[in-house]
Every structure is written in C-alpha cells, then in structure tokens.
C-alpha cells in the first residue's frame, strides 16, 4: 500500500485534487477508457467464443491464432498499432492506394489522440482472447443439451442464445469483465505511450506528478494513487457481492 511517508497525513491534497477540474477530466477519461475497452471486449469475446465452440474445418487453427495475443506483451501490440494507425501508417497508405485519400493528414487521428483510440484497440487485442477463453471454457462445461431441449421446445437460434446460453455465461463473463475493467482503469504504460500528453488517464497523471522535479507534487501523486486504488478495490469487491447475490437467489 502506498505510504505517505513524506509528511504528516493531511487531507489537504485530496481537497485540492477534487476541486481541480483537470483531475475530473483525467478521472472521466480513465473511466471512459476502461468502460469502452471492457464493454467492447466482452461483446467481441462472446461472439468469438460462440464461433469457436464447435469444431469446423480450420477451427483448430483459428483457435490457436485467436490465443496468440495472450503471451504477447502490450508494448509489442502498441508498436504494431502505431505502424497501422498513424496518419502515415499502413491503413492510411492503403486508403491512399485506393484513391480515397490524398494527403496523410486526411486520415483521422487515431494515435497520440485525446480519445485513446489506439489504446483501446491495444486493450481489445489483448483482452478479447482472454475473456474469450474464459467464456469458451464456460460454454464447454455447459454442453449443448440445454440448447437442444430449448430447440425442441420451439426456441430459434437467437432465443436459445438469449434465454438459455446468455444467462448461463453471464456470471463468469461479468466477473471477468470486472477484472478487465479494474486492470485497464489502473494501467499506465499504454496510455502514456499512445495517448496525448494532456489530458491523460489518472495513472499517467499520477506518474507525472510523481516524477515532477517539484517535490511538492509527490503527495499529489500519492493522493491520486489512493483514489485509483480505492476505485479498483471497490470494483474488485463487486464480484464477491455479486456472487453472494447469485447464491442467495438460489
């Protein structure tokens, strides 16, 4: 746990923090980043898991490729995104080649931008296989018998997914989603690398305050750190409460 080792504990910094509008911006940006990444990742992961659960020609290869991002460090993914998404990057060049683009700066700004688009894509690249594997494991343990029963009872494909499968995978999915959200909320390196200098997410703001030559900024950094930690802790207590809630309903 972070130690406020420099001076006697005071809430002076927290007050200053909460009244600073740039803190609010940073906080909201962090929330936006975590929420968007997690939501999109969950949807894509479920889609991928539904695709890969039954064997078909080539499914084995696709599943292996699907798992490829898991051991790849985030930085490598970030490097790749830069190559693809900058205004002089590969996608821009493809568009130029097809005549849809005339100059590099017509390509939208996706990297080093305010909306952290490249950052989100990096997290999607890493998290979709992670959540996808968890959902796949759940789907395998469910088996297909429930769907068969639903089928003979008249449920079509969408109904079987919505009323039978989805409720059964939701607990595991939500838990994993919360983990991913907490992780992205507290993550630092990729937003630092691929985002703007200012505004950026909370962990980056904290870091800048920490390494600021003005030592007065250190406690501010600590304060931000505590806020981040509190948020993450709060999020992580949710699965506990959620699973107890599910348990009670039974």
């Amino acid at each position: 746990m972070p130690l406020l080792g420099l001076q006697t504990p005071t809430i002076r910094h927290y007050v200053a923090l909460f009244t600073d509008p740039s803190f609010a911006t940073s906080f909201l940006l962090t929330l936006y980043l975590a929420a968007t990444s997690t939501m999109l990742a969950m949807i894509l992961a479920v889609a991928a898991a539904m695709l890969l659960r039954r064997a078909f020609l080539g499914s084995r290869i696709v599943t292996v490729i699907f798992q490829l991002p898991l051991p790849v460090p985030h930085l490598v993914a970030a490097a790749g995104m830069v190559l693809l998404l900058t205004q002089s990057g590969l996608f821009a060049r493809i568009l130029y080649g097809t005549g849809l683009l005339e100059r590099p700066n017509q390509f939208p700004v996706l990297v080093f931008d305010r909306w952290q688009i490249a950052t989100i894509l990096v997290y999607l690249w890493k998290e979709v296989p992670f959540i996808g594997l968890v959902v796949l494991a759940i789907l395998n343990s469910i088996g297909q018998e429930y769907e068969e029963i639903a089928q003979t009872l008249g449920a079509n494909r969408w109904q079987r997914f919505r009323y039978v499968l989805l409720p059964l995978i939701t607990p595991g999915l939500v838990t994993t989603g919360i983990i991913v959200f907490a992780f992205v909320f507290g993550s630092f390196e990729i937003p630092l690398l691929l985002g703007q200098r200012y505004p950026n997410v909370l962990p980056v703001t904290a870091y800048r305050a920490y390494v600021d030559p003005d030592l007065q900024q250190r406690p501010v950094a600590m304060a931000i750190g505590v806020v981040i930690t509190a948020m993450v802790m709060l999020l992580l207590s949710l699965p506990l409460r959620y699973s107890r809630h599910i348990g009670k309903r039974k």
Partner: protein, 268 residues
C-alpha cells in the same frame, strides 16, 4: 449456406485482427526508408538488425537482463508460491476468503500505485537501482499470479496420492519428487511460463526501481515507439516477442487441457 459465409467472414476477421499488429512489424524490421505512401518497402535491408546487434542500442544487454530477472522471478515464485498455493488450494480455514482476496489484491492494484509507495522502502533498504531490487519488485505482481494459478491446480489435485505414498513408506521429500511433482507438472509449467511473461513485460516498475541502471527490453522498446522510429522499434519488438511465441507453442496443448486454470481465473 449463409452460416458458412458468416463463419468464414468471422474467421477472416479474427485472423486478420490478430495478425495485423504483428505481421507489418516483422516486415518493417527488414525495411529501409519505408515512407508514406509506399505499400511495400522500396528497399530491404538489415539496418534495424545491425542496430539491434550493436552494443550502443543496449539490446543485447537488455535481453540478458530481461531473461535473468524473469528467470529469478520464476524461481522465487515457485519456492515461495508453491507452499502457499498448496495451502490455499487444499485446505479450508477460517478467513480463507480474506486471505485469498489479500493475496490476489496486488495483482490488481495498479503497479504504478504500488511503486510510488514502495519506492521509498526500496531506497531505504538499498535495493533501488539494483538488479535484485528489480527482481523483488517484479515479484509483486508475479507472485500472486503464480499462487492463483497453482492454487486452482491444487484444488483439482487429490491428496490421497500422497497419503498412499506415505503409508507405503516414502519420506516427505521422495513423496514430493515422485508423486506430487509429476501430478502438478502440467499446471506448474503453465504457471511458470505465464509468471515469466509477467516479469518479461514489466516496464515502469523496472524504470522506477531500476533507476535506469538496470536496462530491460521494454525499456529499450518504449522510447523507440514513442519516437516513431518504426524500423528499429519493429526489430526490437521481434526480439521482445520471441519468448512469448515460444511459450505459446509450448503451452497451447496444455492450455486446452488446462482450461481449468483460465476458467479458475474466471471464477475469481
């Protein structure tokens, strides 16, 4: 018919989505002067690789440091983590939920936050700017990760095997070596490999605690990306990614059968 087309499209999307950030990097590392709007490098060359191999890039030094730190982290994780995981996986005791939660918390408390607090401690104990210090700081996220994975392996493990061995006269040491170890070996390899990866990918922890004295691969890569030095970044990326790919190949079949480990994470 429609299904098959949709399926094909989905597979294509997955394959391209996964490979797109990777393949261009590989190509780029062999390119020279590959600028907009060329779709393929006008010139091929080894400029980036010459850079990588030269001592001034620090890539060689970083590679050794990264490997060294990661290996030590894994060893320490096994020595410290295995007994803890065993207790967690096999035994029930009061406050187990609490302990589990405490143990896994470091996994999710953002490392940046932990570092800011721990930095002072490391300085005080002379661990800052040292190799050992970096190893210890990597243990903070790595150890809980290892314990979590191994405790789910132990949860599926039947202690009756050991009891049988003991009643047949085997000592604790021999029981461990001949009975326990082979039984947990598949899960153990997966856990060790992923713990390796945790240490391998650490950036800011190494920067802050290592103080720039301990140089690892991510530290070389980061500024290259930041400066948009595409060719060199691509080359270093490839060096950086190699162990990761090796690991995936080694564990991919174990991953299928050890979906319980991943599933265990989902049951958190």
């Amino acid at each position: 018919m429609m299904r098959r087309i949709l399926r094909l499209v989905a597979c294509a999307l997955i394959i391209s989505g996964v490979l797109l950030p990777l393949i261009p990097q590989m190509v780029w590392s062999f390119a020279t002067n590959w600028f907009f709007p060329a779709l393929l490098p006008p010139q091929w060359g080894f400029k980036a690789w010459r850079y990588v191999l030269s001592p001034s890039s620090q890539v060689g030094e970083a590679l050794w440091n990264s490997i060294g730190v990661a290996v030590l982290v894994v060893l320490l994780a096994v020595v410290i983590g295995l007994p803890a995981a065993r207790v967690l996986g096999l035994q029930q005791f009061r406050g187990k939920q609490m302990v589990t939660w405490l143990l896994t918390a470091p996994l999710f408390v953002p490392t940046i936050v932990v570092i800011m607090g721990i930095h002072i401690v490391f300085i005080r104990y002379g661990l800052a700017d040292t190799f050992l210090g970096v190893v210890f700081v990597h243990l903070i996220p790595a150890l809980p990760y290892f314990i979590l994975l191994m405790s789910s392996v132990f949860a599926n493990y039947a202690i009756e095997f050991e009891e049988t061995a003991r009643t047949l006269g085997a000592s604790a040491m021999r029981t461990f070596w001949h009975v326990t170890l082979p039984a947990i070996w598949p899960g153990l390899t997966v856990a060790m490999l992923f713990t390796f990866l945790v240490s391998w990918s650490q950036y800011i922890t190494t920067v802050l605690i290592g103080g720039g004295r301990v140089v690892t691969l991510p530290m070389v890569l980061f500024p290259l990306i930041s400066a948009a030095n595409h060719t060199n970044a691509a080359a270093v990326s490839l060096v950086f990614i190699l162990p990761a790919i090796l690991i995936l190949i080694l564990t991919s079949h174990a991953l299928d059968s050890n979906a319980s480990a991943i599933g265990g994470l989902g049951r958190l």
